[in-house]
């Protein structure tokens, strides 16, 4: 008995040690970012490093949020741009991926297999491979330096995974459930909309989190597709902190922290819903 108990204790101790190490690895940069954003200039370079500043310096946040620094006066505009592009990518992504995934899951049509493979194959190429073609296409379409241009570019590379993810969810819903709905008075579309789509909620949330995060953090396309300062998104705003002679680390860290807030909120808000949706759908239909 005693040996058994000790073994179990040791096992959980080992498990928690591993978890703790992972937690530290994941959180340390984040905490360092917060810490640095609150330090006075000289504390930033202090050795040995301090984690908790002697006095919290809110100046970095004040100058960003109130637009006091001439370099960061566009914060509000850029935050708005980021939100528009990220929400746009998520919303349009869902709008296109949902019926697309459903069609791949439910319907038989010629070329279905190869089309689905083609969708997935796109993920094999590095993102930069699409940069130039998309850049010129957007130029031709007059969509360069517009929200639509950036959203379409993001849709190009988030769509494959979104479709694949949602198809998996639709595959797990028995077709008889939609047949039942059609017998009960739904049209073919009604069965999709009222029965299949709500059951794919966990998949939709996962898709939204994925596309939103990609659009929110992506740098390269954002840089290439936009040219005027007031069309820039937040992730490009960071550039303003790299100045001619110096780098404003404190300001940069504050900017980065502010940028991470919506993502944290998104995860936090949707996680609860995500879990609930998962358990609601876990009925062995």
């Amino acid at each position: 008995m005693g040996g058994h108990l000790t073994r179990r204790l040791l096992a959980s101790l080992g498990l928690y040690t591993v978890l703790l190490v992972l937690l530290v690895l994941a959180l340390a940069p984040f905490l360092w970012m917060i810490s640095s954003s609150l330090k006075m200039e000289r504390e930033l370079y202090q050795y040995p490093a301090v984690w908790i500043p002697a006095r919290f310096n809110w100046e970095n946040y004040r100058k960003i949020l109130l637009g006091l620094d001439p370099m960061t006066t566009l914060f509000g505009r850029q935050a708005l741009n980021s939100l528009i592009v990220s929400f746009g990518t998520s919303a349009f992504g869902l709008l296109v991926a949902l019926p697309c995934a459903y069609a791949f899951s439910r319907f038989q049509f010629p070329g279905k297999r190869s089309m689905f493979l083609a969708v997935l194959l796109q993920n094999v190429f590095p993102l930069i491979a699409f940069l130039l073609p998309l850049y010129f296409m957007m130029g031709t379409l007059g969509l360069r330096n517009t929200y639509a241009g950036l959203i379409i570019a993001y849709l190009v590379f988030t769509m494959p995974l979104s479709v694949w993810l949602l198809k998996g969810f639709f595959d797990s819903i028995p077709p008889d459930m939609e047949r039942a709905a059609r017998m009960d008075g739904c049209t073919r579309f009604g069965a999709f909309w009222r029965i299949a789509v709500p059951l794919a909620t966990p998949g939709m949330i996962a898709t939204v989190i994925y596309t939103f995060t990609i659009a929110w953090n992506e740098y390269m396309y954002a840089l290439a597709m936009t040219s005027s300062a007031n069309m820039r998104v937040l992730q490009l705003g960071i550039n303003a902190f790299f100045r001619q002679e110096t780098t404003d680390w404190g300001g940069l860290m504050a900017w980065a922290f502010i940028m991470s807030v919506p993502i944290v909120i998104l995860f936090g808000a949707l996680q609860k819903f995500f879990l609930r949706a998962l358990t609601a759908g876990s009925l062995k239909y």
Binding site: P174, R179, R182, M183, D184, G185, T187, A280, Y285
Partner: protein, 378 residues
């Protein structure tokens, strides 16, 4: 209520024929079962009646109206599915109310109907539960309730009992049958379970490989199967089938088989008079074979293979001329394996099939309902 009529209905997938040329009329308030092994096309046929699939040929008529291009929702028939297909995000009330809400019924009327149906099926206390919080039997009742709540013209049921355990299945069998009689509704039922088909239906439609083999009452199909497939599919344990030869012995017809010979009764002999002697397939139901432990006249000597007591009755397996046969006895003494036993065939229980086509050679409706056929299917 309604009649359902199928005129040469067929369904093809590319070159594969799932259902070929089915003609069938289901009368008002009738309980008709499509029965056959899996893959025989019975569910495909049901989906075509439901409108979930369009026939590639032929016509589906409901109450005399061709409905080939009518949406399922506008056919006013309801369906119960094998896996129940309850809406997992809605509670029992929501599931029952859904077909009524889709029909834009006033809320008060919906409430009244849902509660009435729930009371009928003993679901009143479960209305706020989600499907996953219900037992299999309760889920089954909700599925039935969702089908009856809107009083449709007809019910389609696709293997509604096969997800339930054996005991519940027998109970729900009776419940569905009673419900059908009480409500006076037309039911088209699909199953691969011949016992279900026999016990519940007014008429059976036996299907195999996309084709209707036989349509008839359970007794007709059991007593007078049109071919070897139907004879083998209906009845439990299965009919004994083995090759035999039809011989004419000085004007009297005899059946000769490995290990013995059988006389042919007069009613059968009359029907066989035109036939040339030759190979046939002999069929004999387990209930038409009696096995004895001592010799008696007219009985064939064979070897005991196995005894399966089920409590109610006993299945006695014997070998005759190297073939395994089963007999159904009320009781059987315990004797050692492989001992010699004597099997008596009730000749009025004889079935004969064409050796190549498998078609029945006898119209058994002319046979006396005599020994061996008295005990019907279980």
């Amino acid at each position: 209520m309604a009649t359902v009529e199928l005129k040469a209905v067929a369904r093809k997938y590319g070159n594969v024929t799932a259902v070929s040329e089915v003609n069938l009329t289901v009368g008002d308030k009738e309980f008709v079962t499509l029965v056959g092994p899996s893959g025989c096309g019975k569910t495909t046929l049901l989906h075509m009646i439901a409108g979930l699939l369009e026939p590639t040929a032929g016509e589906v008529l409901i109450d005399g109206q061709v409905v080939n291009h009518v949406d399922p929702k506008d056919r006013d028939i309801s369906m119960v599915f094998q896996n129940f297909a309850l809406y997992p995000l809605k509670d029992v009330y929501g599931n029952l109310a859904f077909p009524l809400r889709m029909r834009k019924m006033p809320t008060a009327e919906i409430d009244r109907r849902v509660k009435e149906t729930a009371a009928l099926l003993g679901l009143t206390d479960l209305l706020s539960r989600k499907p996953r919080e219900l037992s299999g039997g309760q889920q089954q009742r909700v599925a039935l309730g969702r089908a009856i709540v809107r009083s449709p013209k007809a019910f389609l049921m696709d293997e509604p009992l096969s997800n339930l355990d054996a005991k519940l299945r027998v109970q729900m069998r009776a419940e569905i049958k009673r419900m059908q009689r009480t409500l006076g509704v037309t039911v088209i039922y699909v199953t691969h379970d011949q016992v279900e088909a026999m016990t519940m239906s007014d008429r059976l439609v036996v299907m195999n490989q996309g084709q209707v083999q036989q349509v008839g009452t359970p007794q007709e199909v059991f007593r007078n199967p049109v071919n070897q497939f139907v004879a083998g599919f209906i009845g439990s344990p299965s009919i004994n089938l083995f090759p035999a030869r039809l011989l004419s012995d000085a004007g009297t017809l005899v059946l000769s088989m490995d290990g013995g010979a059988l006389p042919i009764p007069e009613w059968a002999a009359q029907q066989l008079r035109q036939r040339a002697a030759g190979a046939v397939i002999l069929g004999i139901r387990p209930s038409a074979i009696s096995v004895f432990t001592s010799e008696r006249s007219g009985a064939q000597r064979c070897a005991l293979y196995d005894i399966e007591p089920t409590g109610e009755e006993t299945y006695v397996y014997i070998t005759l001329g190297g073939r395994l046969l089963v007999s159904r006895m009320d009781d059987f003494p315990t004797v050692p394996m492989s001992s010699a036993v004597w099997a008596q065939f009730a000749v009025d229980g004889l079935h004969l099939f064409h050796a190549e086509t498998g078609q029945s050679l006898l119209d058994r409706s002319l046979a006396p309902a005599g020994e061996g056929e008295l005990r019907g299917p279980s």
